[in-house]
């Protein structure tokens, strides 16, 4: 199966690879997936006092589409408010990267990572976590 140009581009030049201080109150960390399934994503956001995401970083163990999905997610997150970030849908990622059906789970994982990072941030700051929809797959 050939990868789309956009997947290749993100895979070759991944944006925002790295690690934020997970113990900082302004940082939310989402770690989703499992090694046995062949993909694990860690996505982190840094949120300022206005609820705006000022930085986002990722590291991903997985195929090219998983890496591209998380790279794209960090790009989209930066500058968004937390509420705006919650509206990112996995199908937006599928569309942007032209993922084939067998790779849709990569985009789902990226969406889960975003929501999980936001919830981590909320809990750390004394807010109730959002009710997350059960796994899509």
């Amino acid at each position: 199966m050939a990868y789309s140009e956009k997947v290749m581009e993100h895979y070759t030049n991944p944006r925002n690879v790295g690690t934020l201080d997970k113990d900082s109150k302004s940082v939310g960390t989402g770690l989703v997936g499992a090694p046995e399934c062949g993909d694990v994503m860690r996505l982190q956001i840094e949120v300022d006092e206005n609820n705006v995401i000022t930085d986002a970083k990722f590291k991903t163990f997985g195929c090219g589409s998983a890496i591209a999905s998380s790279s794209l997610a960090t790009e989209w997150l930066k500058g968004k408010t937390v509420d705006e970030a919650l509206t990112i849908d996995n199908m937006d990622i599928v569309e942007e990267l032209a993922l084939p059906p067998v790779k849709i789970h990569c985009s789902v994982l990226a969406e889960d990572a975003i929501k999980s990072a936001i919830n981590d941030y909320r809990v750390k700051n004394g807010m109730a976590p959002f009710e997350l929809a059960k796994s899509h797959h």
Binding site: V17, V32, P35, C37, M41, R42, F61, C63, I67, K103
Partner: protein, 403 residues
Amino acid sequence: MELPIYLDNNATTPLDPRVLEAMLPYFTNKFGNAASRNHAFGWVAEEAVDYSREQVAKLIGCTEKEIIFTSGATEADNLGIKGVFEMYQDKGNHIITATTEHKAVLDTCKHLEKAGARVTYLKVKEDGLIDLQELEAAMTDQTILVTIMYGNNEIGVVQPIKEISAIAHKHGALFMTDATQAVGKIPVDVNADGIDLMAFSAHKMYGPKGVGVLYVRRKNPRVKVTAQMDGGGHERGMRSGTLNVPGIVGLGKACELCRLEMDSEAKRLSGLRDKLEAALTQLEESYVNGNVNHRLPHVANISFKYVEGEGLMMAMKDLAVSSGSACTSASLEPSYVLKSLGLSDDLAHSSIRFGLGRFTTDEEIDYAIENTKKAVNHLRDLSPLWEMFKEGIDLSKIEWAEH
């Protein structure tokens, strides 16, 4: 050096130009049907097929009459296993095989289970070899066939074929082997090895696709299989269908070349393979899968922990290799062969198979080493698991959100 570099010779091999040359006349002016007994066109084709039979027989130490040409190893596996089951069902219904067999064997056995066969799937040890005591214990008076592959397609381990056939024969069962990866690469002798039926194909040994062989023993004992294809009664009634004359000619030539060049080629390839393996296992947390003493000379299967195989292959874009990861399949199940060795799913997902071949050069292996090292390091920089490992976190203690 041309890129990309082909290192997937267990999937298929390029056609040797000498094989192509031998085949070409049989597409055009020597186009006859080998079954046409009444004119020169048929005789020429028949003569070519007979010559190929000799070339094949010489490679595996049998007689020409024991060669049944098929469309490939999958068909030969089907014909051998189903044919024996049907022919010998008065004797018993039990078949023994192993969990690391090719799907052509496993799925054929599963098919026969629906038709009343009882099949034992032997587990393999951590090194990929079957346990002979377990085989012995599995034999019953109902066992008609033991079918165990010669060399494994994913990890290259070579089973103790002589010992296995001796156990089968001691209990009155036939012994069959899928030798697709072994024939032409290492010495295979049906008499010395005690083989009663054997499947293999041309395209794994620098011959054309679409042609293979089922060897069927004619003496001590005389083995019979029921035909799985009805028609004109070709191949002594065991496999009907007009013979693929150019393909068969190519198979014969491929066998001849393998026989003549096997010794030097095996030495050269195992040298290159060892060099590749030594360099890549210098990377932290990388492991060779399968027994390293009993194996084919041209395969290396290595797991690079904390990187995922498919993602890794993308970074190795100048190398054509394959992975035990199966991120593209809906099930996300990694290689069943690697899992049979007891490898955890994450290590199975992290595996790469390098398959060297006749046209692999020293220079290409040097390039492959550098390319792979770079790719592994690049992906580890991206890997949260690698970071956690480096921080001393025990990944097995984490509650992963399985999906």
